[in-house]
């Protein structure tokens, strides 16, 4: 009866169109409009949070002072605090959040595994080992007297390269495992956890080979991700890397949608699933390695964020990719702002905070099993 009424009502409005079809379409448009509003809302929140974050810190600033500094009318001090210290950190948080979240989302999609993420597959830990290895082997760590952080690195690109090289070891193991048809979600994650502890042990043993306190503290820094050690250059590298990777993923969104239908369906839709999987894993490992090599391990963002976004807007990659980016940026920015201000003047590494948030979520996902997939 309702259906007949709806049909009649629709006929009255548009008599020359098939009523059922236009009904379905307008419902579908409403449905997608909700997803878009969510993405827009999160993006607005990111900007809003960034404004607040600019005022927070050991040197208190009002919104007005921040605003004046932003448009170039601030004093020398407010200009330095806003542009050289806080803005760099905030941009790093936003783009590291984007990169980690979108990597996790793509890994979960192409491996069809809700537990996949840069940290659960051991990619982050391998990258941190690679970074620590470069410091010890090539002595890239140096004491620096400026900024919030005690250590900077003379050869950041060498560190990044080494981080990427080692992250590819974890990635290759995962790619090899996916070739076994009976490798389940759990097998992959267990292998990832095993590699994670292996590389953590590797980092620990590198400490014994550290030549001085500088190297030692440099290595230890990697075990807790900290956004305070980026400068404008590294922040920009992270920003460019995350943006390029996100754009690449977005361009391939239909392929990831096809992957949602399962291996055979995706292939019957003309998708080379093997290629999509390998390139997707390599790109997401690259961006993870880039982030880890500059800010250290920030665990669980890549795991938790895609699930939060998926819970709200569903699995459609057309929307899930931008939504993961927006939620990732927001989550890391909020976490880092808390890490800076929670027990001020002490600045916590944000990696500690995200792990406190992420570990319970990880256990929850395991307990919940595959019901959400």
């Amino acid at each position: 009866m309702n259906r007949i009424l709806a049909v009649l009502k629709n006929k009255a409005v548009k008599s020359n169109e098939p009523s059922k079809g236009s009904n379905i379409l307008s419902d579908y448009d409403t449905y997608t409009a909700k997803k878009i509003s969510f993405i827009v809302l999160c993006s607005v929140l990111v900007i809003f949070t960034a404004m607040i974050a600019l005022t927070q810190g050991s040197y208190g600033l009002s919104i007005k002072e921040v605003f004046l500094a932003l448009i170039g009318r601030g004093t020398r001090i407010t200009h330095t605090v806003v542009w050289n210290i806080r803005m760099v950190r905030i941009l790093s948080a936003i783009f590291a959040g984007i990169g980690l979240a979108v990597s996790g989302m793509i890994m979960q999609n192409i491996l069809r595994n809700p537990l996949a993420s840069p940290s659960t597959l051991g990619v982050s830990h391998a990258a941190s080992f690679g970074a620590a290895f470069a410091i010890v082997a090539f002595g890239s760590g140096r004491i620096s007297s400026h900024g919030g952080s005690a250590v900077t690195f003379t050869m950041p690109y060498l560190i990044a390269l080494s981080a990427f090289g080692f992250s590819m070891i974890s990635t290759s193991v995962i790619i090899l495992l996916t070739r076994f048809r009976d490798a389940t979600s759990e097998t992959l994650v267990l292998a990832g956890v095993a590699m994670g502890s292996l590389f953590t042990a590797g980092v620990t043993s590198l400490r014994y080979f550290a030549q001085d306190e500088v190297q030692l503290s440099a290595i230890i820094f990697w075990t807790f991700g900290d956004l305070g050690r980026t400068g404008w250059t590294t922040a920009m590298i992270i920003a460019i890397g995350s943006t390029v990777a996100s754009i690449y993923f977005f361009l391939n969104r239909w392929k990831y949608n096809a992957m949602n239908g399962g291996e055979n369906v995706a292939r019957s839709l003309g998708i080379n699933t093997e290629k999509v999987r390998i390139i997707g894993l390599i790109v997401s490992s690259m961006i993870t390695a880039l982030i880890v090599s500059f800010v250290g391990i920030i665990g669980f963002v890549g795991l938790v964020v895609p699930h939060m976004a998926r819970k709200v807007i569903g699995n459609d990659s057309r929307f899930l990719i931008p939504a993961s980016c927006a939620v990732g940026a927001l989550l890391l920015l909020v976490s880092d702002t808390f890490a800076r201000t929670l027990i001020s003047p002490i600045v916590l590494p944000v990696g500690i905070l995200t792990s406190f948030l992420g570990a319970p979520m990880f256990i929850y996902l395991i307990l919940k099993g595959r019901h959400n997939w």
């Binding site: 379409l25 055979n264 369906v265 292939r267 019957s268 839709l269 003309g270 699995n315 459609d316």
Partner: protein, 263 residues
């Protein structure tokens, strides 16, 4: 010229021969049932035709072209695949799932035409009412219709279905078979369907292919293909065949001498 033809085709999983020297040809507008015991190669044959498996020997043609040289994306606009329902899928609405069928045709975003095809496919499969429901909330029968609608949205000339009626109750089996038969006639499509139920197969299919141990044991119209002898040979069971008007009714006859678990 046949729409699809297969000549001396063989396929093996490692050392195990799954199909050997299969030669078949099919014309448009037909519903062809592929029957045979478990492990006789039904699913494998369907997967080879859809390009999911690369054949080891022989060749297959589609509209006279060598099927293995057709780019996969183009093939996806010609041959649609409906998997067995056991395959795991991610949550997705019915509309989004059917829209997946347009992926081989898409470049940037779905066009008006893409959306029309999706709506048409949902209408044909009678699932329009379910448009924004999640496929995991649906019954097995409804979900199977969604997956067929997705393959229909590819606008293929050939529809390959892997045991679409398994897990369905009798009413949904009949409803689904009728829909599939109707679309093959209306759209002049070829539907190839692996099917277990011999009575359902005989009632709806235009012709049947009986596979045995990876080879074609028999092909023909249901009446001739499904003789007592052929069934005994292909499945290793004795049956009685009754006629109900135009329909045949195949009833297994219990025979204590049949070994059900021979090695």
């Amino acid at each position: 010229m046949s729409l699809v033809s297969i000549k001396d085709m063989s396929f093996s999983y490692g050392d195990i021969d799954a199909l050997k020297d299969v030669s078949l040809s099919f014309n448009k507008g037909k519903l062809v049932g592929i029957i045979g015991a478990n492990g006789s190669g039904k699913s494998t044959l369907i997967k080879c035709l859809c390009g999911l498996l690369e054949i080891d020997a022989g060749h297959m043609t589609f509209e006279g072209r060598n099927l293995s040289t057709i780019p996969k994306r183009e093939l996806a606009t010609q041959i649609g695949y409906v998997p067995q329902i056991q395959e795991k899928t991610s949550p997705s609405t019915v509309f989004d799932t059917v829209l997946m069928g347009r992926i081989p045709h898409l470049t940037w975003a779905p066009t008006e035409k893409d959306l029309e095809v999706v709506i048409g496919a949902m209408d044909t499969m009678e699932i329009s009412e379910l448009s924004l429901r999640d496929i995991h909330e649906l019954s097995g029968g409804q979900r199977q219709r969604v997956f067929i609608a997705r393959a229909m949205a590819q606008e293929p000339k050939v529809l390959c279905l892997d045991e679409p009626t398994s897990n369905l109750d009798i009413k949904h089996q009949l409803g689904l078979m009728r829909t599939i038969r109707d679309i093959t006639r209306e759209k002049r499509m070829l539907a190839l369907m692996a099917v277990h139920d011999l009575n359902i197969a005989s009632q709806y299919c235009d012709s049947l292919v009986i596979l045995k141990e990876g080879g074609v044991f028999m092909e023909g119209e249901p009446n001739e293909a499904l003789s007592k002898n052929n069934i005994k040979n292909a499945f290793g069971i004795d049956v009685a065949i009754h006629k109900h008007g135009d329909y045949m009714h195949i009833v297994p006859v219990e025979d204590k001498n049949v070994e059900f678990f021979e090695n």
